[in-house]
């Protein structure tokens, strides 16, 4: 059972990593405009009128 002595800290560390990632996302404004981000992908910025980009 000695294995839990380092498994638990390892699990906690990974969990903390996830938490830190979430906090970073929150701080950098990723949650400011949820509607906009979801729908923006439907439009191509660089090809007006759906024309294929010129080769």
């Amino acid at each position: 059972m000695d294995v839990i002595l380092y498994l638990i800290p390892a699990a906690l560390f990974l969990g903390l990593l996830g938490l830190a990632a979430f906090l970073w996302a929150l701080k950098s404004g990723q949650f400011e405009d949820l509607d906009g981000a979801a729908r923006r992908i439907l439009f191509d910025d660089d090809t007006p009128d759906g024309a294929p980009p010129e080769k």
């Binding site: 979430f22 906090l23 929150l26 400011e32 405009d33 906009g36 007006p48 009128d49 010129e54």
Partner: protein
């Protein structure tokens, strides 16, 4: 090159393609229904045709294919008339020489609108940033070069049919308020801790059966403490702070038992772990926080969304004023820096930013924002004008008598704030429950200790342990979730119908109203004049008059032109501010305007009251056009439904007695008061409150704002003046009045569910408290009981989302 060709093909094939055939009767740009005449052009007005041209020229016609117009919102139809508002006073300049302006965009329907505006702006030279936040409908625009280019850029957006208004970002709350953010962070931390502590706790519970050694258990408990204690210290802070605040005022709210339960559970668990005890409640403490934070966050988020939609702005004070200096030079100043005695110039189409007296010029002024009156007032030198009114027809020179805090507008805001004070001591049901609950629970815990220690002779540690178990198990999880969960479900349901709840206690207050007071203009009615159809008027005269009317921004002229939109406006129409329109032809003058302007003698009136326009042609008798303000299509039904359910309905109006009486008759309201000033409306609501009635006020004008604040609860249509939207508890969108019924129905349903939830939570306590007092409580039992009661309460609340609301 390829792109070029395809672009042109797309654009030219557009008005004739397959999809086009089905929707041929709609305007290409704004989607409005077309009449037979304008079907040929495909546009309802010149503004839309021009907008379509701009979109085509920029190569953005994908917009029309991808957009989804929301019939409840204003269509993207460019405002006719001069849209020459000067925004340069709101431009901020960065140290690197680039400029920025923050704008609110109104009329965004879907992502295509966002894309169109962003792409169109980005194609302009030197534009460095154009980004719209779709959630808050705010646009940040950045460019290099001259700051004056702001008007050119915003002009582009307005000519596409979207209204923009500048705002000061420092004054408006961000989309995610500081409070939401704090709750979200706390929730993330609590969620992380709850997951990990639960993982360790389950090992411990399993260990009881599998023969886990006390050393391993202690180790797991210490790990739990390591995670739980910092998490509680951080994530519990929103509750601790609110509990401390309440205690400091000598009150108890729901956060007091929550804080106590969490702190005591954590403290006892540490003690147990340190002394090698069997039970620790770290998981209970952290999951309790996590569940509650979810409820709190969703609740707070729903309301800040409603607030940011309601808080459309400061359009009234946002317009900079053009000041004319004694030397004749003109400059733009923000209204705050204006002083009495300065001369301000108001061009036609501009909002007047100050209170003052007219020095020079005649015009018509739209005072609907202040008085609720639909028909503009004629002003001439010597007349007083007020901030927030709209100058319609002529250029005015105004001497400032009050600006900023000294205006009538500011006075109304003060009146509103004073009225709001009266409502501040409303006590929410949850807090009432908490007031009774806290002493009861603490009494039980004390009794448990005393009985175990004295009557049963247990050692003090064991007695204390049992008393603490009572405190933990009565943990107010279900009780504290009872209200927020219902709130979230109810506001979600209302949001789908375009109804925004701004106040936390609005639903509760809505559920017990017995009187509804409506404002007339803009609430019961649509707020725009409509031409009274009169078959006696010859068609040719109607066409000629409507043609003339097309040249003016006066609301009555606009209404006449709307009635006959195919009428062509001839060139050379002269507008004489304050009087009317004139066209000089070879046959003589055509005139459209007031009775005096058309030279019609004052005769004893034959045909009733109301706004009117006269039209004279050479060699024909003068013709009178009458207008009325049409009630909202379902106003009569809504009033009838309210009365059927036993709610008294009244109407208050600032309009003349005859006009008000006619509308009241049309929608079936018996009790009404006309010619009410803002203070009069407030007085009526206070009188109702004094006689023990709980009244809801529905109103939209600026003059209604104090009454909205004085009412037990208030609603406002979203087209209302910004300030009354801010004063209202509930804001609804759309042209129908039925949201009033829906809101009351949902509020009553929600209140029933809240009471059921409280009953469920108390029932759960009735079962578990005796267990805890008898000393049978283990962490496993506590966790199961707590989660199941929370789930039960949440499940019960979800029933509101689908249930039909009946109206009887």
């Amino acid at each position: 090159m390829t792109a070029q060709v395809i672009k042109r093909q797309n654009a030219s094939s557009f008005p004739g393609d397959a999809a086009g055939a089905q929707v041929a009767a709609l305007c290409w740009h704004c989607g409005a229904l077309l009449d037979s005449k304008s079907t040929q052009t495909g546009f309802c007005c010149g503004g839309c045709e021009a907008a379509f041209g701009i979109v085509q020229k920029l190569g953005l016609t994908t917009y029309y294919r991808k957009r989804v117009l929301d019939p409840k919102l204003h269509p993207p139809k460019p405002e006719p008339g001069p849209g020459t508002e000067d925004f340069s006073a709101f431009v901020a300049t960065d140290p690197d020489g680039s400029h920025r302006i923050h704008l609110m965009v109104e009329g965004l329907h879907c992502a295509a609108c966002v894309w169109l505006i962003e792409t169109a702006l980005a194609q302009q030279p030197n534009v460095t940033a154009a980004r719209i936040n779709m959630t808050t409908r705010r646009l940040v625009l950045g460019w290099a070069g001259a700051p004056e280019r702001v008007n050119e850029l915003t002009g582009l957006v307005s000519s596409l049919g979207y209204r923009v208004v500048p705002y000061d970002p420092a004054q408006l709350s961000r989309a995610m308020s500081a409070r939401d953010r704090e709750l979200l962070l706390a929730m993330a931390v609590a969620g992380f801790a709850a997951g990990n502590v639960m993982l360790l706790s389950i090992s411990v519970w399993a260990g009881f059966g599998e023969g886990m050694g006390p050393v391993t258990r202690e180790l797991l408990y210490w790990f739990s403490a390591l995670i739980a204690l910092p998490a509680i210290a951080y994530a519990g802070w929103p509750f601790f702070r609110s509990a401390l605040g309440a205690l400091a005022h000598g009150r108890a709210n729901m956060d007091v038992p929550i804080s106590l339960a969490v702190i005591i559970a954590a403290g006892m668990s540490v003690y147990e772990t340190a002394t090698g005890g069997r039970y620790a409640y770290f998981d209970a403490a952290v999951t309790l926080l996590f569940f509650l934070l979810i409820g709190r966050y969703l609740d707070s988020r729903a309301r800040s969304l409603a607030r940011s939609a309601g808080e459309r702005l400061v359009a009234l004070t946002a317009t900079a004023a053009t000041v004319e200096e004694p030397s004749g030079a003109r400059r733009l100043l923000p209204p705050a820096s204006l002083k009495s005695g300065m001369i301000v110039i108001a061009a036609p189409g501009q909002r007047i930013a100050i209170d003052g007296r007219i020095r020079e010029g005649t015009s018509d002024v739209d005072t609907s924002l202040i008085t609720g009156e639909t028909i503009p007032a004629r002003v001439q030198p010597g007349s007083r004008v007020f901030a927030g009114t709209l100058n319609l027809t002529g250029m005015l020179r105004i001497e400032v008598s009050g600006a900023g805090e000294a205006t009538l507008l500011a006075e109304i805001v003060r009146l509103m704030e004073a009225a709001e004070q009266g409502r501040a001591h409303y006590v929410a049901l949850a807090d009432k429950v908490a007031r009774a609950y806290v002493p009861a629970v603490h009494g039980l815990a004390a009794a448990t200790f005393l009985v175990w220690f004295f009557a049963l002779g247990a050692p003090w540690q064991a007695s204390l342990l049992n008393a603490v178990a009572v405190l933990i198990v009565t943990c107010p999880c279900a009780l504290a979730l009872a209200v927020p969960v219902v709130q979230v479900v109810a506001s979600g349901r209302l949001l789908r119908r375009g109804i925004l709840l701004k106040s936390a206690t609005a639903l509760e207050r809505l559920s017990d109203i017995d009187t509804v007071v409506f404002d007339k203009t803009g609430t019961l009615t649509e707020g725009t004049p409509v031409l009274h159809p009169d078959p006696a008027i010859p068609r040719s005269a109607l066409m000629a008059a409507a043609g003339l009317a097309g040249a003016s921004a006066h609301p009555l002229a606009r209404a006449l032109h709307r009635a006959v939109p195919q009428a062509k406006t001839p060139a050379g129409v002269i507008e004489v501010p304050g009087f009317g329109l004139k066209l000089i032809t070879a046959r003589g003058d055509l005139r459209l305007g007031s009775r005096r302007w058309c030279g019609v003698a004052e005769v004893p009136d034959a045909g009733g009251e109301g706004p009117e326009l006269w039209f004279v042609e050479p060699g024909a008798p003068p013709i009178r056009f009458r207008f009325f303000d049409a009630p909202r299509s379902d106003a009569a039904e809504v009033v009838a439904a309210l009365m059927r359910s036993g709610i008294a309905v009244e109407m208050l109006s600032g309009d003349r007695r005859e006009t008000a009486g006619e509308v009241a008759r049309n929608v079936g309201i018996q009790r009404f008061a006309a010619e009410c000033a803002p203070a009069g409306k407030t007085a009526r609501l206070q009188a109702l409150a004094a006689s023990g009635r709980r009244a809801m006020m529905v109103g939209d004008g600026l003059n209604d704002a104090p009454a909205l604040a004085a009412a037990h609860v208030s609603m406002s249509p979203s087209a209302a003046a910004d300030i009354s939207r801010n004063a209202a508890d509930v804001v609804f969108q759309g042209a129908a009045l039925s949201p009033v019924l829906e809101t009351i129905g949902v509020a009553r349903g929600a209140q029933r569910l809240v009471k059921q939830n409280f009953a469920l939570a108390l029932l759960y306590n009735a079962v578990t408290v005796p267990l805890a007092m008898a000393g049978f409580m283990t962490p496993l039992v506590a966790a199961i009981a707590m989660s199941s009661s929370s789930l039960l309460v949440t499940g019960n609340a979800l029933r509101l989302a689908r249930r039909r609301i009946s109206w009887t």
